[in-house]
Amino acid sequence: MTIPVTIRLQQADFDIASEIAALSRGRTDIGAVVSFSGICRRDQAGGEGGDAIAALTLEHYSGMAEAEIARHVEEAVARWPLTGVTVIHRFGRIVPGENIVLVVTASTHREAAFQGAEFLMDYLKTRAPFWKREEGASGSAWVDAHDRDDDAAARWTKS
Protein backbone atom coordinates (compact mmCIF):
# COMPACT_ATOMS: atom_id res chain seq x y z
CA MET A 1 0.00 0.00 0.00
CA THR A 2 1.24 3.45 -0.80
CA ILE A 3 0.78 6.07 1.87
CA PRO A 4 1.14 9.84 1.52
CA VAL A 5 4.77 10.84 2.13
CA THR A 6 5.97 14.44 1.95
CA ILE A 7 9.66 15.35 2.28
CA ARG A 8 10.72 18.94 1.80
CA LEU A 9 14.00 20.78 2.42
CA GLN A 10 13.41 24.50 2.25
CA GLN A 11 14.61 27.88 3.43
CA ALA A 12 11.09 29.13 4.10
CA ASP A 13 9.22 28.53 7.33
CA PHE A 14 6.40 25.96 7.35
CA ASP A 15 2.91 25.88 8.77
CA ILE A 16 2.47 23.02 11.25
CA ALA A 17 -1.31 23.18 11.14
CA SER A 18 -1.62 22.78 7.40
CA GLU A 19 0.87 19.91 7.41
CA ILE A 20 -1.11 18.07 10.10
CA ALA A 21 -4.36 18.80 8.28
CA ALA A 22 -2.92 17.56 4.97
CA LEU A 23 -2.20 14.15 6.52
CA SER A 24 -5.62 13.66 8.07
CA ARG A 25 -8.10 15.66 5.96
CA GLY A 26 -10.98 13.63 4.60
CA ARG A 27 -9.70 10.36 6.09
CA THR A 28 -11.51 8.22 8.61
CA ASP A 29 -8.89 5.48 9.03
CA ILE A 30 -6.46 7.65 11.02
CA GLY A 31 -6.77 7.46 14.78
CA ALA A 32 -3.61 9.27 15.84
CA VAL A 33 -1.47 12.08 14.51
CA VAL A 34 1.82 12.98 16.22
CA SER A 35 3.71 16.10 15.28
CA PHE A 36 7.18 17.10 16.42
CA SER A 37 8.44 20.59 15.76
CA GLY A 38 12.00 21.54 16.56
CA ILE A 39 12.46 25.21 17.32
CA CYS A 40 15.59 27.37 17.43
CA ARG A 41 16.43 28.18 21.06
CA ARG A 42 18.26 31.25 22.29
CA ASP A 43 20.55 29.19 24.55
CA GLN A 44 23.68 27.78 23.04
CA ALA A 45 23.57 24.08 22.22
CA GLY A 46 26.79 23.65 24.20
CA GLY A 47 25.02 23.77 27.53
CA GLU A 48 23.01 25.82 29.97
CA GLY A 49 24.21 29.25 30.92
CA GLY A 50 26.20 29.91 27.76
CA ASP A 51 25.95 33.00 25.61
CA ALA A 52 22.66 33.64 23.90
CA ILE A 53 22.75 33.04 20.18
CA ALA A 54 21.59 35.54 17.58
CA ALA A 55 20.88 32.96 14.89
CA LEU A 56 21.63 29.50 13.56
CA THR A 57 22.76 28.80 10.03
CA LEU A 58 22.00 25.33 8.72
CA GLU A 59 24.14 23.89 5.93
CA HIS A 60 23.07 20.68 4.19
CA TYR A 61 24.22 18.24 1.53
CA SER A 62 21.61 18.78 -1.13
CA GLY A 63 20.71 15.59 -2.95
CA MET A 64 22.04 13.30 -0.23
CA ALA A 65 19.78 14.78 2.46
CA GLU A 66 16.58 14.19 0.47
CA ALA A 67 17.60 10.64 -0.49
CA GLU A 68 18.67 9.74 3.06
CA ILE A 69 15.49 11.10 4.62
CA ALA A 70 13.41 9.20 2.04
CA ARG A 71 15.20 5.96 2.92
CA HIS A 72 14.53 6.49 6.62
CA VAL A 73 10.88 7.30 6.02
CA GLU A 74 10.65 4.03 4.07
CA GLU A 75 12.21 2.22 7.03
CA ALA A 76 9.73 3.82 9.43
CA VAL A 77 6.83 2.81 7.20
CA ALA A 78 8.16 -0.76 7.08
CA ARG A 79 8.55 -0.93 10.87
CA TRP A 80 5.31 0.71 12.02
CA PRO A 81 1.81 0.72 10.51
CA LEU A 82 1.87 4.38 9.49
CA THR A 83 -0.78 5.89 7.26
CA GLY A 84 1.14 9.05 6.39
CA VAL A 85 4.48 10.78 7.04
CA THR A 86 5.67 14.36 6.53
CA VAL A 87 9.25 15.55 7.10
CA ILE A 88 10.24 19.17 6.52
CA HIS A 89 13.73 20.44 7.35
CA ARG A 90 14.75 24.05 6.88
CA PHE A 91 18.22 25.27 5.88
CA GLY A 92 19.81 28.71 5.84
CA ARG A 93 19.62 31.31 8.61
CA ILE A 94 17.10 30.77 11.41
CA VAL A 95 16.60 33.04 14.44
CA PRO A 96 15.54 31.97 17.96
CA GLY A 97 11.84 31.16 18.17
CA GLU A 98 11.65 30.04 14.55
CA ASN A 99 10.92 26.47 13.41
CA ILE A 100 13.79 24.26 12.24
CA VAL A 101 12.25 20.86 11.58
CA LEU A 102 8.86 19.18 11.45
CA VAL A 103 7.95 15.50 11.56
CA VAL A 104 4.31 14.45 11.36
CA THR A 105 3.21 10.81 11.53
CA ALA A 106 -0.30 9.44 11.21
CA SER A 107 -1.47 5.96 12.13
CA THR A 108 -4.47 3.93 13.18
CA HIS A 109 -2.96 3.64 16.67
CA ARG A 110 -1.01 6.01 18.84
CA GLU A 111 1.97 3.77 19.57
CA ALA A 112 2.96 3.60 15.90
CA ALA A 113 2.58 7.34 15.43
CA PHE A 114 4.74 8.13 18.48
CA GLN A 115 7.41 5.55 17.65
CA GLY A 116 7.63 6.55 14.01
CA ALA A 117 8.04 10.24 14.90
CA GLU A 118 10.71 9.53 17.54
CA PHE A 119 12.63 7.24 15.19
CA LEU A 120 12.67 9.88 12.45
CA MET A 121 13.72 12.66 14.83
CA ASP A 122 16.56 10.56 16.28
CA TYR A 123 17.68 9.86 12.73
CA LEU A 124 17.53 13.52 11.68
CA LYS A 125 19.59 14.54 14.72
CA THR A 126 22.43 12.11 14.07
CA ARG A 127 22.60 10.88 10.47
CA ALA A 128 20.89 13.37 8.16
CA PRO A 129 23.56 15.52 6.46
CA PHE A 130 22.86 18.88 8.11
CA TRP A 131 25.26 21.04 10.10
CA LYS A 132 24.37 23.88 12.46
CA ARG A 133 26.49 26.97 12.98
CA GLU A 134 25.62 29.30 15.85
CA GLU A 135 26.10 33.08 15.75
CA GLY A 136 26.72 34.56 19.19
CA ALA A 137 27.96 37.81 20.67
CA SER A 138 31.57 36.55 20.54
CA GLY A 139 31.54 35.21 16.99
CA SER A 140 30.18 32.08 15.42
CA ALA A 141 30.95 28.38 15.82
CA TRP A 142 29.87 25.01 14.48
CA VAL A 143 27.70 23.03 16.88
CA ASP A 144 29.28 19.84 18.22
CA ALA A 145 27.45 16.55 17.86
CA HIS A 146 25.96 15.19 21.09
CA ASP A 147 26.71 11.72 22.39
CA ARG A 148 23.23 11.57 23.83
CA ASP A 149 21.75 12.00 20.36
CA ASP A 150 23.84 9.05 19.17
CA ASP A 151 22.61 7.02 22.12
CA ALA A 152 19.01 7.91 21.29
CA ALA A 153 19.50 6.88 17.66
CA ALA A 154 21.21 3.62 18.64
CA ARG A 155 18.10 2.28 20.39
CA TRP A 156 16.43 1.71 17.00
CA THR A 157 19.18 -0.58 15.72
CA LYS A 158 17.87 -4.09 15.27
CA SER A 159 20.03 -6.55 17.16
Binding site: H60, Y61, F130, R133
Partner: protein
Protein backbone atom coordinates in the same frame (compact mmCIF):
# COMPACT_ATOMS: atom_id res chain seq x y z
CA UNK B 1 36.01 12.10 -9.16
CA UNK B 2 34.11 14.96 -7.60
CA UNK B 3 34.99 15.65 -3.95
CA UNK B 4 32.67 17.71 -1.73
CA UNK B 5 33.36 19.33 1.66
CA UNK B 6 30.82 20.53 4.21
CA UNK B 7 30.70 22.65 7.39
CA UNK B 8 34.11 23.20 9.03
CA UNK B 9 35.82 20.78 6.64
CA UNK B 10 34.69 23.06 3.81
CA UNK B 11 35.74 26.20 5.72
CA UNK B 12 39.23 24.90 6.55
CA UNK B 13 39.89 23.73 2.99
CA UNK B 14 38.41 26.93 1.62
CA UNK B 15 36.29 25.36 -1.08
CA UNK B 16 33.03 23.42 -1.32
CA UNK B 17 34.03 21.04 -4.08
CA UNK B 18 36.74 20.12 -6.54
CA UNK B 19 37.54 17.50 -9.18
CA UNK B 20 40.40 15.20 -8.14
CA UNK B 21 42.19 12.25 -9.68
CA UNK B 22 44.08 10.43 -6.92
CA UNK B 23 46.71 7.85 -7.93
CA UNK B 24 45.58 4.21 -8.14
CA UNK B 25 47.45 3.38 -4.91
CA UNK B 26 44.72 5.32 -3.04
CA UNK B 27 42.17 2.55 -2.61
CA UNK B 28 40.00 3.38 0.41
CA UNK B 29 38.32 6.39 1.99
CA UNK B 30 40.98 6.41 4.74
CA UNK B 31 43.73 6.40 2.13
CA UNK B 32 42.03 9.25 0.28
CA UNK B 33 41.95 11.26 3.52
CA UNK B 34 45.68 10.60 4.05
CA UNK B 35 46.42 11.59 0.45
CA UNK B 36 44.35 14.78 0.73
CA UNK B 37 46.14 15.70 4.01
CA UNK B 38 49.38 15.96 2.00
CA UNK B 39 47.97 18.51 -0.41
CA UNK B 40 48.61 21.56 1.78
CA UNK B 41 48.20 23.14 5.19
CA UNK B 42 44.49 23.79 4.72
CA UNK B 43 43.88 20.08 4.00
CA UNK B 44 46.14 19.02 6.87
CA UNK B 45 44.09 21.27 9.17
CA UNK B 46 40.74 19.95 7.91
CA UNK B 47 41.81 16.32 8.32
CA UNK B 48 44.00 16.71 11.44
CA UNK B 49 41.70 14.33 13.35
CA UNK B 50 40.79 11.84 10.65
CA UNK B 51 38.64 9.68 12.94
CA UNK B 52 36.21 12.57 13.40
CA UNK B 53 35.64 12.91 9.67
CA UNK B 54 32.53 11.31 8.15
CA UNK B 55 32.35 10.32 4.50
CA UNK B 56 29.73 9.55 1.87
CA UNK B 57 30.23 7.90 -1.50
CA UNK B 58 27.62 8.71 -4.10
CA UNK B 59 25.41 10.13 -1.34
CA UNK B 60 25.48 7.10 0.95
CA UNK B 61 27.24 7.09 4.34
CA UNK B 62 30.33 4.85 4.22
CA UNK B 63 33.00 3.72 6.67
CA UNK B 64 36.58 4.77 6.07
CA UNK B 65 37.67 1.25 5.06
CA UNK B 66 35.29 1.35 2.09
CA UNK B 67 36.89 1.17 -1.35
CA UNK B 68 36.58 4.27 -3.50
CA UNK B 69 36.73 2.32 -6.77
CA UNK B 70 33.98 3.48 -9.12
CA UNK B 71 32.96 6.42 -6.91
CA UNK B 72 31.68 9.43 -8.82
CA UNK B 73 31.12 11.72 -5.81
CA UNK B 74 32.86 11.55 -2.43
CA UNK B 75 31.92 13.92 0.40
CA UNK B 76 33.73 14.70 3.68
CA UNK B 77 32.09 16.37 6.64
CA UNK B 78 31.97 16.56 10.46
CA UNK B 79 29.39 14.61 12.52
CA UNK B 80 25.90 15.74 11.58
CA UNK B 81 23.98 18.19 13.77
CA UNK B 82 20.60 18.52 12.08
CA UNK B 83 17.11 18.15 13.49
Amino acid sequence: MKVLYFAWVRERIGKAEEALDPPPTVATVAELIAWLSQRGEEYAHAFEKPKVIRAAIDRMHVKQDTTIAGAREIAFFPPMTGG
